[in-house]
């Protein structure tokens, strides 16, 4: 089985790796590049803990091959903070108590930051629909919605 030489840009930094065909994007990020902010939850494409932004769209990185991401621009939770300043969604989750155990949080942050790129003023319904693929097992959705609304206001 041949290995593949791939290059990806993660949070603005170019990375290269030689990977097996079957390596998953989430493992590339966590193990090859040692960025462990992206979590592995269900590992079956249900929970969204592994969500990263791939060429502008939030996707479940446990269900993308690393080779499929060759040449892509990826943002992980480590890339949200800019120059020591939290991203508005991070600030919102802090201010509005948008997390309890915190396991789903990196995925929630990626999905909701992508939502706010596309929709500056989402309704509660739109926020809830956007995070339908991200599960919070603490069931803290009420505060997650408030956190996103806080961020939306901040970004306007």
């Amino acid at each position: 089985m041949a290995k593949h030489k791939i290059s990806v840009t993660i949070n603005g930094t170019a990375h290269e790796a030689e990977v097996e065909s079957r390596l998953l994007l989430v493992h590339l990020i966590r193990e090859n590049f040692r960025m462990t902010g992206t979590h592995i939850g269900c590992d079956t494409s249900h929970c969204g803990a592994c969500t990263v932004i791939l060429d502008g769209n939030p996707v479940k990185s446990c269900t993308v091959l690393a080779v499929q991401a060759d040449g892509a621009k990826i943002t992980t939770v480590e890339g949200l903070e800019q120059g020591g300043k939290l991203h508005p969604v991070q600030e919102g989750f802090t201010e509005k108590h948008g997390l309890q155990c915190g396991f789903c949080t990196p995925g929630m942050l990626m999905t909701t930051s992508a939502l706010l790129e596309r929709n500056k003023n989402p309704s509660e319904q739109e926020i809830r629909e956007a995070i339908a693929g991200n599960l919070c097992r603490c069931t803290g959705y009420v505060n997650i919605v408030k956190a996103v609304q806080y961020a939306a206001e901040k970004m306007r």
Partner: protein, 290 residues
């Protein structure tokens, strides 16, 4: 979970992709969005020695109206369909269905071609293809051929596609005036397959009677089920409540689901009846009837 080892190929053209499929035979599988295939490989429910990724083949991602057809490229992502004004205006049945498929993150990767060609009875778009009378265009070593959607589904994960053929385009006849379509789906939660779902596409005549109708069911058997008896019954009749209820009952009789954690056979058949009636009512309303 990590899939069994395989070789990954990224052809730059369709010809190259078909050549790869031809040379690897049963050992090769087309990778489109990967939202069904990759979980199956990870769970080791399937394994292939070669994956042929058509994700970078140019010219497979489009939605356009041309010559009386809506033409959708096989690599068009579900999220792209979801945001398409053309789909919303011309094909409300698809606009109904797409937001009910998986979840928004999966729809950012999953493609209509994968959903249609996968051959899983739980996929939503196959029944819609039957209801719409779509034509599925495939490319193989001898060139292009067209397959009617009602000739496409052969069994569980078995379709009319040969091992070395790739679905490239979906052609949907642009619905005539006084047409309406609807998709009604019952699922337990986001991301789940349907307990039952019904796709209806119909055209009314000038008097408001049903001129033409097609009804198809999702997850009601090993392949999508076309309820042709119910459609025949409705043809020429007024779409009143009595006829709709009778047709829905006939459609449910055609469904032969199996019992699983989504419900018993009796429950699923009853839901097929209820959802067929709902889809019929909505389709009639959209066609401008009452």
């Amino acid at each position: 979970m990590i899939p069994a080892a395989f070789d990954y190929h990224r052809p730059g053209t369709l010809e190259e992709a078909v050549k790869l499929l031809s040379s690897h035979g049963d050992q090769a599988k087309v990778l489109s969005g990967g939202m069904s295939l990759l979980p199956m490989l990870k769970l080791r429910l399937a394994s292939f020695a070669h994956l042929v990724d058509i994700g970078r083949v140019p010219g497979l991602d489009y939605i356009k109206e041309e010559g009386g057809f809506l033409k959708i490229g096989a690599m068009t992502r579900q999220a792209t369909l979801e945001r398409s004004d053309l789909i919303r205006a011309k094909c409300p049945i698809l606009a109904d269905a797409v937001p009910l498929i998986a979840d928004p993150l999966v729809r950012n990767r999953g493609t209509i071609g994968g959903n249609v060609a996968n051959g899983d009875p739980g996929n939503d778009q196959p029944a819609i293809m039957l209801a719409l009378g779509a034509t599925l265009v495939a490319r193989g070593p001898k060139g292009e051929r067209s397959i009617a959607a009602n000739q496409f589904y052969k069994g569980l994960y078995e379709t009319a596609l040969a091992r070395n053929e790739i679905l490239t385009e979906i052609r949907i006849p642009v619905p005539a005036a006084r047409s309406g379509g609807a998709y009604a789906k019952l699922k337990r939660k986001t991301g789940d397959f349907a307990v039952a779902a019904a796709a209806v596409q119909l055209t009314l005549d000038a008097k408001g009677a049903i001129e033409r109708v097609a009804i198809a069911l999702t997850n009601a058997a090993l392949t999508p089920v076309e309820a042709s008896d119910a459609a025949k019954f409705l043809a020429g009749k007024m779409p009143d409540e009595k006829n709709i209820m009778e047709a829905a009952k006939m459609a449910a009789v055609k469904s032969s689901p199996s019992a699983d954690r989504r419900g018993s056979v009796e429950y699923k058949k009853e839901m097929a009846r209820v959802l067929t009636a709902r889809a019929l009512r909505k389709a009639v309303q959209r066609a401008g009837g009452k």
